[in-house]
């Protein structure tokens, strides 16, 4: 049953994606597998919510049946509407099985990824729930919903104290989205009993999905196999990404996957206008809302990138500037007690908190949370912009997205009371994790563009052959 539950999170949705992603697209297999897996991880909870809303409760059979029918219907519709697949030219890097540095490095990287994955599998399959938030407000809901086989309400403490119902519950964050606890509930429903190791398997799947999507999208950028694999290894080796898989139970890994998947697809849509990439970008950007309340801000960070795609650079810059000024102005006129995405202006206590600067720089550039990614990002992106007009053209929209999300990140930690999250190092890296796959992707794209530009210059190609 566990295996069946895992496959239901993956295969039907990959089949669905296979109907949308054109045959022959570079990295198609990885894209289908990765996006399919992430779709399943986000859609199964949606199905559970729908069934519970219809009064059918949460039973493994009904969820499984729906999880087969929904993608099957989507595949049917896709095939009916689009009888023939578009064929996109694949990258021509036929495997060379002789001794080359590339083959040697590919073998080494695969071994390293396998070792890493093995370590994480051991952790996930062995460890009971460990980290703070996992037991404070995520798995609390899963325990109740699994016990009662239904999505029972969690309300804030005031309402709970007034409630006469025995089936109304409370915890530290009753208003958080339901996706994460429902995934845990799903795995326990498959097993038939509460198990804190089995219920964390979706975190392992999310980790795989991040790797597959990242590799597939890099391959779609016409990257060669070694470059794409090396960059995927770099992403999958980052300590906090690993930790959030090993010590499963937080929602941040899923947010990283969803936002990263959206940004990667957005980049390709902005450069190629492939409709399916646009659909993926929109889907996973909206899916951020299902994972954490903060997903709204990451969804909004895509808007400036969209402006760069739809308007001329000058007009887009004007629109973004006006938008930012309006947003800042709204902060001062918005009702201070009104909550947006779980935050109120009153509780944010707007102001400048300079003590966060040093801690932010330390954790990003001196500690080993993300290995060398922040340094490579800061070195490669400006270099790429400086060196290549092609890069400026291609990277502008996605850079606007990254700049906006980084701007929100910096604003949160330097201009609101959330700065305590950087001073005591509690939340800053969890929020940074949301952005890491997207930033790693842009860094990777910058490198690939540099590669392509570099060897295109006269006198360079000889060495590359």
């Amino acid at each position: 049953m566990i295996l069946f539950a895992i496959l239901l999170l993956w295969l039907p949705w990959s089949a669905c994606l296979a109907a949308f992603i054109p045959m022959g697209a570079p990295g198609r297999t990885s894209l289908v597998a990765g996006y399919g897996m992430l779709t399943g991880l986000l859609m199964i909870p949606v199905i559970m919510r729908a069934l519970s809303y219809l009064g059918l409760g949460l039973s493994f059979g009904s969820i499984a049946l729906t999880a087969l029918l929904v993608p099957a219907t989507l595949v049917y519709i896709a095939n009916k509407r689009k009888p023939g697949h578009q064929v996109t030219k694949a990258v021509n890097d036929a495997a060379n099985f002789g001794f080359t540095l590339a083959n040697l490095l590919i073998a080494v990287i695969i071994i390293l990824i396998v070792i890493r994955t093995g370590s994480l599998i051991l952790e996930v399959f062995s460890r009971p729930l460990f980290p703070w938030d996992a037991t404070a407000h995520w798995a609390t809901k899963a325990k109740v919903w699994f016990e009662y086989r239904d999505i029972l309400p969690f309300v804030d403490r005031g309402l709970w104290l007034e409630s006469d119902s025995s089936f109304t519950f409370t915890d530290r964050h009753p208003g958080y989205p339901k996706t994460i606890p429902l995934l845990q509930t799903w795995m326990c429903l498959a097993l038939g009993r509460w198990n804190e190791s089995v219920m964390n398997i979706p975190w392992l799947m999310c980790y795989f999905a991040i790797g597959l999507i990242f590799y597939g999208q890099l391959r779609f950028s016409r990257s060669d196999r070694l470059t794409a694999l090396a960059m995927t290894y770099m992403l999958l080796s980052m300590p906090l990404l690993n930790t959030h898989t090993a010590l499963a139970g937080y929602a941040d890994l899923f947010m990283a996957a969803s936002f990263g998947a959206a940004v990667m697809a957005f980049y390709h849509w902005s450069t190629s206008r492939e409709p399916w990439q646009g659909l993926l970008a929109a889907t996973f950007a909206i899916a951020c809302l299902l994972i954490k309340n903060e997903g709204l801000f990451w969804l909004m960070s895509l808007l400036p990138g969209l402006a760069f795609c739809l308007f001329s650079y000058r007009r887009a810059t004007t629109i973004i500037a006006v938008g930012m000024i309006t947003a800042v102005g709204l902060l001062f006129v918005f009702p201070s007690a009104q909550s947006i995405a779980g935050h109120t202006v009153l509780r944010l206590k707007l102001g400048f908190y300079p003590e966060g600067i040093g801690h932010m720089l330390t954790t990003l550039f001196f500690w080993d949370n993300w290995h060398l990614l922040p340094h490579l990002f800061l070195a490669l992106l400006p270099l790429c912009f400086f060196y290549s007009s092609l890069a400026r053209h291609r990277l502008a929209p996605v850079t606007a997205v990254i700049a906006t999300s980084l701007g929100l990140f910096i604003f949160l930690y330097l201009f609101t009371k959330e700065s305590f999250g950087v001073v005591n190092q509690t939340s800053i890296n969890r929020l940074a994790l949301h952005l890491v796959p997207a930033i790693a992707f842009v860094t990777g794209i910058a490198w690939i563009i540099l590669q392509q530009q570099f060897i295109a210059r006269p006198g360079q190609s000889e060495d590359a052959k």
């Binding site: 540095l101 590339a102 390293l112 370590s119 051991l122 062995s126 403490r157 930790t243 937080y250 092609l390």
Partner: protein, 410 residues
Amino acid sequence: MQLPKPDSSQVIPDTAASSIRTARDALASLLVGALLLFLILAIQKGENPFEKKSEALSYPAQDLRITRGTQISGPTGPSIMPDKGGRSALVIPIESLPAANVSSIEIDFVRIPGDSDIQLTWRAAGKAVSSIKIEHHGQGVVRVFMERIDGWEGEIKLLGITVQSNKTEPWQLSRVSLIPSGWAADYILWFNSLQEFTPWTPGSINWYRGTSRVESSALPIPIFIGWLVISLLTYIVIFLISKRKRPINLATCGIMVLLVWMVTDSLWQLRLGARALETYDRYFHLSQAEKELRTDNWLLVYFAARVKSQILDNSTRVFIDSKSGFLGMRTAYHLYPKNVYWELKSPGLPPPDRIRDGDLVALVDESEIVFDPLTDTLRYNGDKQLSVQKLLETRAGRLFRVRQTDVTRK
């Protein structure tokens, strides 16, 4: 907007000859980069790395004096047989040794029972005997860093090793070395801090420094970034002064980045792998209930089970309070799917008029709520009182049933 189509091309060498050239350039640059970085760090510390340092003092097994237990012959050399109580001890023959001259002590165990409690013991002039426990893994080299250990100061007059084991099995070591202070020892100390085992902690989910030491000088990322930058500059300089005027190969730069990343990551992988094995050993073959009892919070698990047994029906609510946010939260978690109320701060009980007869109040560990056994009341927030009946008390906490609610105001 008309976007240019990307070209499809490769820069990674696909022949053996170009592979060897690329690898050679990358490795040579990294090697020179490492050497330059080493020199820069040594100069920055005001040390001459070529200056000859005092050498380590090394004592082979036959030079050590057994003071407890007996020496026996074995196939791999002389071993030490503990006395009937499982105790054995030996002394390292030093006459007098300035503590400041020794930064670490290295003991090469050939064989030692895994459950042995090993202590390094010493006496400084005019001081009492001090000792520290040595962590070991049954065999192999164990290095004890002495520089920040309390009592390791002044003139050391006596230095020894004691071993206590449940088994009377012989054990064996090949040598004991006293490593002097200096850059070599510093680097060994640094390297050790990068890869030594540290278990998962609640903070692991939030940050990873890269080292088990807290000093900023020990952080690996600035060192590795420095190494990469110097190596890349070395490569570019070699290119500039090269007479053959071969162009800069971006693949070589990429391979340098990848290799430095791999070195950085290998340290994390060692730590991650060790933690995974520890988790596997501790939990893998256990059921969910057994796993919970193997955690560090097993007392809470036991307490929560006792609390659950007191819950009569679904309408019973459980209020939890503790001075420790973590213990309160974890107890609440173990009580779900029962109807639980917990607040981070203590006292976290709502006003008495919001609590009903039959509700349970669990005070976990220490609490700001005081139980008065004479009147059977819980007092909190100065003027709030709650009539209760004490149901149980364990090492983890106490449980009360609310009998009637009564608001008393000053």
